[in-house]
Amino acid sequence: MKTGTIKQILLITDGCSNQGEDPIAMAALAKEQGITVNVIGVMEQDVIDDQGMREIEGIALSGGGVSQIVYAQQLSQTVQMVTRKAMTQTLQGVVNKELQQILGGGKTVEDLPPEQRGEVMEVVDELGETVELDVLILVDTSASMKHKLPTVKEALLDLSLSLNARSGDNRFSVFVFPGKRNDVEKLLDWTPKLESLTSIFAKLTTGGITPTGPALREALSYFNKKRSLRSLLSRDDESFFEESV
């Protein structure tokens, strides 16, 4: 079975949006385009209020992804776990769709006896190991995130370490919001390695509002831009990758 690339947006934030479009609607829009939105809420001593909590869960729910609220110390493990979990979910969705066509009558993996489920799971595992993965990371840099940023950086380096152990290709890009001039600013273009983050993150300035909705919208359009560009160059692109490997 040949699957396309898995596309994810990973939103790291510590509270509620306060400007622009409804982020939950933007996440739903992403899902419609086949992009999963995962959200991680980072706490320190402060606790995320009810409203923020609801928004975080809402974004992940309508974005077809996974959400998790963690203390900053546990961020590294959570980032990789959430990404992996969402990836497996997506793949399960794909496999389930195939199964429904084979079995008919809206049956899913859960309707199979446990003995046969194991074989399906092996397919999902195998796909999770080999499929291409694009993750666009969206980091909240509003004032309250200031002292959490070093931890975020660590977590992202750790994520690239985890995912690069897979045999499939990964590409990451990193955006922060609010940006210096716009709602969103690009920190890092598509790259398989996140090591270059170390120097960029040190220079980051924090402050201002939290335009989560506009940030998600921008991220989406960036995904689309890349897709159209790639479809133009797809042949060359692939051969280039093979050569470089």
């Binding site: 609220i69 590294s76 446990p114 489920r117 092996e122 595992d125 370490l161 045999s167």
Partner: protein
């Protein structure tokens, strides 16, 4: 880590609840909760008057994944690493179906508690047992992944180490799915998260460190120096320093290699003792190491001088002297050569004298 609230609520079951499977119709009575991990909750349950462990999760796929691992463990002959699988089924709760599997209930204290009760003498023995199991697991193409004292239970007597959580077990060559930072070489900046034997051996090294630092410690900047610094500070770890260093820096290619080096650390004492006994009684019958020593031949020892095995193989005659200085391979080699040459010279001189005396 904060759990998904949905997971906790769905799988929370009060003692006394009867769980009946949808497919195989077995009935299990929940006795109490044993613990919970990232993928579900484990309960102690009763089935036909015997105690079993039952793990359930609302994420059916993670249950299926673990069942796959346990099934393939069952095919490995003689492996006692994971619990044996008894049943897999679904439990239909109103509103939501919960997948579960039933396994053998492994009773005993966890690794660190056991060592606290019995003392540090047991560290070596337990690690040796663990490495023997890992060797078997690796030979069958798996890597344990999330290896840590919390997942290790010591049953007995006789004391036997067992693993209880196979959620992190991964096929070799894939990427590690689940890990705990302290035992993860990626976290310390000492390697990748690719599933290979060295990944587990790193974790074994850290488990040994953990025995001296039960509360563990956090990374400051990462790297080997930081951990070895802690090892040097601990009197109980001092004898294992080289082994830990090698395990953490990926020097071992297999669990067997690491195992043999630990055996060697425990050897020198047994050695001198067994040698004295050997001199009294010619038939060596005093335990495992002893038996191995008597099978060794001098010639074998020469040819395998670079392998750690050679140290444990005893040799009669000339090589005996060299054992005292076996830590330094170089000096050992040259001294044994010197010895041989001396003996040959002495014998030829004696022989020459003998021939000469015969002639005259």
């Amino acid at each position: 880590m904060m759990m998904n609230p949905s997971l906790k609520n769905l799988c929370k079951v009060i003692p006394g609840t009867i769980i009946q499977g949808k497919w195989h119709h077995n009935r299990y009575t929940i006795i109490k909760e044993l613990g919970f991990g990232a993928n579900g909750i484990v309960y102690l349950a009763r089935y036909n008057n015997s105690q079993v462990a039952l793990k359930m999760s609302d994420n059916g796929m993670s249950i299926t994944s673990e069942v796959n691992v346990l099934k393939s463990f069952a095919k490995v002959q003689g492996s006692a690493l994971g619990p044996s699988l008894l049943d897999v089924d679904d439990w239909e709760r109103p509103g939501k179906m919960v997948s579960f599997y039933v396994m053998e209930f492994i009773k005993g204290p966890d690794f660190l508690t056991f060592l606290q009760q019995k003392g540090p003498d047991w560290t070596g023995v337990m690690v040796l047992q663990l490495l023997a199991d890992l060797q078997l697991l690796h030979e069958n193409g798996w890597v344990f992944g999330d290896l840590k004292p919390d997942n290790l239970i010591v049953t007995g007597p006789p004391a036997r180490i067992r693993c209880i959580d196979v959620g992190g077990t991964t096929l070799q060559g894939r990427s590690i799915k689940e890990f705990t930072e302290f035992f993860d070489r990626g976290y310390w900046g000492l390697g990748s998260r690719k599933a290979e034997p060295g990944y587990d051996l790193f974790a074994v090294g850290m488990i040994m460190v953990n025995t001296a630092y039960p509360k563990r410690f956090n990374k400051v900047s990462g790297g080997i120096g930081e951990i070895i610094g802690k090892v040097k500070q601990s009197p109980n770890l001092k004898r294992y320093e080289t082994v830990i260093f090698n395990a953490l820096t990926g020097k071992y290619h297999s669990a067997r290699e690491m195992r043999e080096e630990i055996l060697q650390i425990h050897q020198p004492d047994t050695y001198s003792r067994s040698r004295r006994q050997q001199q009294k009684t010619t038939s060596g019958n005093q335990g495992r190491q002893q038996q191995r020593t008597t099978t060794g031949k001098q010639g074998q020892q020469r040819s395998t001088a670079n392998s750690p095995m050679s140290h444990s193989m005893a040799a009669n005659g000339t090589a005996r002297q060299t054992r005292n200085s076996y830590n330094k391979k170089k000096s050992k080699k040259s001294s044994s050569l010197l010895e041989t040459v001396t003996i040959i010279i002495v014998i030829s001189v004696l022989y020459f004298v003998y021939i000469y005396s015969q002639i005259t």
